[in-house]
């Protein structure tokens, strides 16, 4: 399993909010697909798929706050 991680967004950003997932759990994704949208300040940040595979797990859903480095989901 390859984790989908909240990246370091720099400048002391420690927490972000999950806006939405672009794919449902169990669906196949390709490397570089925009996978999940996070929001901080007035910026939407798209976390892209680190690898191609099946989006096996989604651990956080819309509206939840997550920390930098947190595992959002997993791809197999």
């Amino acid at each position: 399993m390859t984790p989908v991680i909240v990246p370091d967004l720099g400048d002391g950003v420690t927490k972000v909010e999950v806006v939405m997932w672009c794919f449902d759990q169990g669906v196949s994704v390709r490397k570089h697909d925009d996978l999940v949208e996070l929001v901080t300040d007035k910026a939407i940040f798209n976390v892209s798929a680190p690898v191609s595979g099946i989006l096996k797990k989604i651990y956080y859903s819309s509206g939840q706050e997550v920390s930098i480095g947190c595992i959002l989901g997993e791809i197999e």
């Binding site: 720099g10 949208e37 929001v39 300040d41 007035k42 910026a43 939407i44 892209s48």
Partner: protein
């Protein structure tokens, strides 16, 4: 090297398609870009928008010539119209060693420097993103980032018809909007402002 592209007066959705294509190009190693343009009357709804911040139904807005679009940017409700200069930077944050907040501050700085050229003292605000002249908002910011490349950006009111803002609560705030022409009582040539904006943008983002 930052390439400057003038899209002229262009529909919001067409400009968005051009941005998305440019994001792919920049993410694949292409040069950073700054797209400059104006939009016909358009109301955009960011991911955090609240319907209550539209003061009229979408049907009514459409009949008055507004296009209403839900978009993948941060922020609430925003309005674009001729006379508002739009900045769409397509910038690779990793390559430019920029975090998101630093990028937003630099984008604000572009507008602050431009307004200073016309003796307007303006400021960014970390709490309420955008550019302010006193308590009046002159530019709005809402950005998206995909594969570490930015899209969407900033709308700066030069000689926008400010009465158009009466149909929304801009950014979800009870605020007064302003424009450069209103602050200076002068009319400005869009082409000249675009040239100055491009220079300021390159200066702020360190392009030689």
């Amino acid at each position: 090297m930052i390439e400057i592209i003038d899209l002229g007066l262009i529909h919001f959705k067409t400009a968005l398609l051009k941005q998305k294509q440019a994001v792919l190009d920049v993410a694949s190693g292409g040069p950073d870009l700054l797209m400059l343009c104006e939009h016909p009357k358009t109301i955009t709804l960011g991911r955090k928008y609240k319907e209550a911040n539209l003061f009229q139904s979408r049907d009514s807005l459409n009949k008055q010539g507004f296009t209403v679009v839900e978009v993948d940017r941060g922020g609430d409700v925003s309005l674009h119209a001729p006379g508002q200069l739009i900045f769409y930077p397509i910038l690779n944050l990793k390559r430019n060693n920029l975090g998101i907040r630093e990028y937003l501050k630099k984008l604000e700085q572009v507008a602050v420097d431009l307004l200073a050229d016309f003796d307007i003292v303006a400021n960014g605000d970390d709490g309420n993103r955008g550019i302010w002249v006193g308590q009046r908002k002159i530019a709005s910011i809402g950005v998206g980032v995909s594969r570490w490349v930015t899209y969407h950006g900033m709308g700066l009111n030069l000689y926008t018809d400010l009465s158009l803002f009466n149909v929304i609560r801009p950014c979800g705030l009870d605020i007064q909007m302003t424009a450069l022409s209103g602050e200076t009582k002068k009319y400005f040539d869009m082409s000249e402002i675009k040239c100055r904006s491009a220079e300021n943008f390159k200066k702020v983002f360190g392009d030689k």
